[in-house]
Subunit: 544 residues, 2 copies
């Protein structure tokens, strides 16, 4: 696996040091032998909160150390529980008379190591309570449940009550209440990869795992790769059935398990908002990466059944930047869009010859879309054909709404359509061209000259000129030919020559290819120029 | 590409609605035809800040809408600039007498669409200023630079000065100052994949791209996959050379371009902190995903040269949760670790027979490490062999420090070593076993019985018993044989039988396989039990 690291064995150590560029944090000086991250400003006057476990779940747990959440986090190597000594050192370092609460995820290793450390600390006279979090409902009620992302709810809410000075018993009671009232379930496209070696992919392209662990353990079920609305609905139903309480009020935490893209995480949040469970959900935390599993492409939902006390603890602000404040789960609000002038304000008029020419041009753009996209994929971003095809479809659909008997109005209408219907830069450039041509035609009613004038406007705004590897290389010679009263055949030939010349241009500051290395450009014509020339060449055939 | 979406054509729309579960945000009601996200509480009393561009860069730009940053974000489809109408609608919706600043990333499409919209808005009587951000230094000074993650510095600092009531001219001046004093460069392992189709991988396994775009444009250079400290040093030098100012004071923004794991992002932050550039860097923002490129596996550094005014704007807190507060870039602080008792507190004594047996056992664990790991990879997390091998190596190295003539002290010492040197649960379980055996041996000095008593302690803490598919299945029959004064041969045979019996156990609540589906377990013996039996079997051979 490609990764931004030095050596695999140093990852955890260096990641912790990377976190410690924050002056509010410190580490115990037996680091890296033991890896304890703790608050740099801790005075032991209140109940200390210690959590931790194997690394690979960042920002959990060290990322939640700070005022209002954890006092210390004990970090193991990747997916390995920290040693008893490390936990014991953390407890001894942060625990004063108020005592210490250990928040433990329900894995054998963590349970044993934190449990033994708690025993040893008690033997040394420290007041220590433990809470074990087992929020994963994937495996059903009859087996031991794992502690996963819902653990962060415990950090947050217990952290709040510790910070306002509640005693150890009170904080532990609240923490256990949060743990008992949290249910989580995960979904993933892939398992996670360790930094050493490459695992075989467990899932097929059309499969999703439901109820997976955060260490690459296989999911409880493999289900079909359904649309996200359906996947979320399945996961949310499991949580709803777990609580089975139509009067409950919930908070949801949407957790990125590693490498789901931010745009997808927002799609997931939207999908959650449409579930039945969302109707009972008052607050949402995230979507964000809170408890990850290295590079797993998956996410989890954790749902907390609220009481007034838990809600207060959830909503309080905290110092650690890895915690995302809970938001009220709301429906998208709308604000009235300001009124813009109509797209096609002119009176519809008919002209069959003009309609025929426009139809020919539009049909060519639609026919060549794929060709031009493929050409553009080599020297740009692969969408050159799409812009023209989509505007062409719109024009064909609205041909009977155009003022075809009036050339100036037709040019302006096409300009308006390009501006409103095409997002890309070629759309705006074409809009400028047609609006410029319309303005010019009003004063000097000659189409070739008007188009050339529009092209000049386009050059002014866009910055490119002939020789810069853009559609101007095809349009300028063609429009010049038309402006000089040459035939459409001569215009097409001139356009083809211009397009061919772009094959020699390997360096340009303008247009789609300006960010592409020179060696990739030589021998390939500009896709915009090619599209324009093809349109002219097809027009020649149709007008024969 | 596998993704958590409904239909590719609905991603942008649904992601925006997912963001809008936040009641502080709203959208213009011509959504989704135009996609404008704006503050729900905006009263037009101050300068409005509008930015935006193609989608696929989440949380930019809509994620930065909120008090202290943007007033509105205009979103295009993925990597496509929004239409002029969309930008114009946004301007008209948020601009009052104080006017509006457009923050534009330097791409032809954005420049044209935002520029034209600004022109049209001015024609309608709105006060509009624009700032174009071109922070990418990858392509050198002689070409048009792109706007990338450094743009967020402009949102943040201009946002602060707009929020405290500075006028349009002042806000625009500050925004231009930020844009001119920001330099960014990116590094990536992979290009980004669109949600439709799969691109061929551009980079080899041992290659990294330096100076890439945020739309999958190829990087300015392809360099070797070096350790991150060296990669960062190359990138940081480019930025340092760009500013070429030994007296400057900087802030750095470390941006995840999409799918770098959180633990790697911390390693990257640590690597940055070791560069020469870091010595001049006072503040760090992130590491975090601020301006992404879909699923690109890469990151970027953006560095802002500070003035007192810019520093004030940078540090102010804001409403949008996607912004990460700047932290002082600090060296990791340390706190003294509490003193624990020594690992090996007993007087060293010699016993060659005991030394030989321990050496045999340790060597076996080292020899079988890979076998046991491979077995564990099928039914657990693949580290079963590693734990025992690493402790064995430690014991061999420290054999001459053990109290070998005293059985009780030797048992306790091994227990202490397991507790301190082995992180995994088997380490603690073995520690409990040996400490329990030591305590028992003190009262009844018989090794077989002492080991059996230690095993009982282990069962109490860990929860598993014979038949649960753990090392207990091998250890209990072996220790029973020894306790009943049978030979080591008989103990090994009993242990092998116990291990064989685990092949039939497909359901268990305890141990490494308790989260693994039943069908994967049948026919495979428990790796822990197998390791113990192999040790006994080898001991039989060595003692023959």
């Amino acid at each position: 696996m490609k990764s931004f690291i030095n050596k695999p064995e140093d990852i955890v150590k260096e990641a912790i040091d990377g976190l410690l560029i924050n002056d509010k944090l410190a580490k115990l000086d037996r680091f890296p032998e033991i890896k304890v991250v703790l608050r740099n400003d801790w005075d032991k006057s209140k109940v200390a909160l210690v959590s931790g476990g194997g690394s690979g779940h960042e920002p959990a747990h060290a990322g939640f150390v700070g005022d209002g959440m954890l006092t210390a986090a004990v970090c193991g190597e990747i997916f390995a529980s920290p040693s008893v000594d490390a936990v014991l050192s953390a407890i001894m370092a942060v625990t004063g008379d108020a005592g210490c609460l250990l928040i433990i995820k329900n894995y054998t290793g963590d349970r044993l190591n934190f449990g033994l450390a708690a025993e040893q600390a008690r033997a040394l006279g420290y007041k220590v309570e433990t809470v074990t979090v087992a929020d994963d409902i994937a495996l059903g009620a009859d087996v031991k449940q794992r502690g996963i992302a819902g653990t962060v709810f415990v950090h947050k809410i217990a952290g709040y009550y510790a910070s306002i000075g509640k005693n150890l018993e009170e904080v532990a009671t609240i923490a256990r209440q949060v743990a008992e009232n949290t249910a989580s379930i995960g979904l993933a496209h892939t398992e996670c990869q360790m930094f050493t070696g490459q695992k075989e992919a467990r899932l097929k392209e059309n499969e999703v795992e439901l109820g997976l662990g955060i260490h690459g353990e296989p999911g409880a079920e493999v289900i079909a790769q359904l649309p996200i609305n359906e996947l979320i609905s399945i996961a949310a139903s499991k949580i709803e059935n777990h609580f089975n309480d139509p009067n409950a009020k919930y908070a949801v935490l949407i957790n990125n398990l590693g490498t789901v893209t931010p745009i997808e995480m927002n799609v997931i949040a939207n999908a959650f908002s449409k579930t039945k469970l969302a109707k009972q959900t008052s607050y949402i935390v995230g979507p964000a990466a809170l408890m990850t599993a290295l590079n797993m492409n998956g996410f989890s939902l954790s749902v907390l059944k609220l009481t007034e006390q838990l809600e207060t603890g959830l909503l309080a602000t905290v110092e650690p930047e890895s915690w995302i404040c809970a938001k009220k789960l709301s429906h998208p609000a709308t604000i009235t869009t300001p009124q813009l002038s109509a797209l096609l304000p002119y009176k519809v008029t008919k002209n069959e010859a003009v309609a025929y020419i426009i139809t020919c041009i539009a049909n060519t753009f639609i026919t060549i879309e794929q060709d031009i996209n493929e050409l553009d994929a080599k020297v740009g971003d692969g969408d050159a054909g799409a812009t023209f095809a989509s505007v062409s479809k719109f024009i064909l659909k609205n041909l009977d709404k155009l003022p075809l008997a009036n050339t100036k109005e037709t040019l302006e209408s096409i300009g308006r359509i390009f501006s409103r219907e095409a997002g890309g830069s070629s759309g705006v450039l074409m809009s400028i061209l047609f609006l410029g041509a319309a303005n010019n035609y009003e004063q000097h009613p000659k189409l070739g000259k008007a188009l050339l004038a529009g092209l000049e406007r386009m050059k002014t705004y866009g910055g490119a000129k002939v020789g810069d590897r853009t559609m101007i290389d095809a349009l300028e010679p063609a429009f010049k030919a038309l402006a000089e009263d040459q035939t459409i055949i001569e215009a097409a030939i001139a356009s083809r020559q211009g397009t061919e010349s772009t094959k020699q241009v390997s360096k340009t500051l303008y247009g789609r290819s300006s960010y592409i290395p020179e060696e990739l450009l030589l021998g390939i014509q500009d896709p915009g120029a090619e599209a324009m020339t093809r349109v002219l060449e097809n027009l020649v055939k149709k007008l024969k």
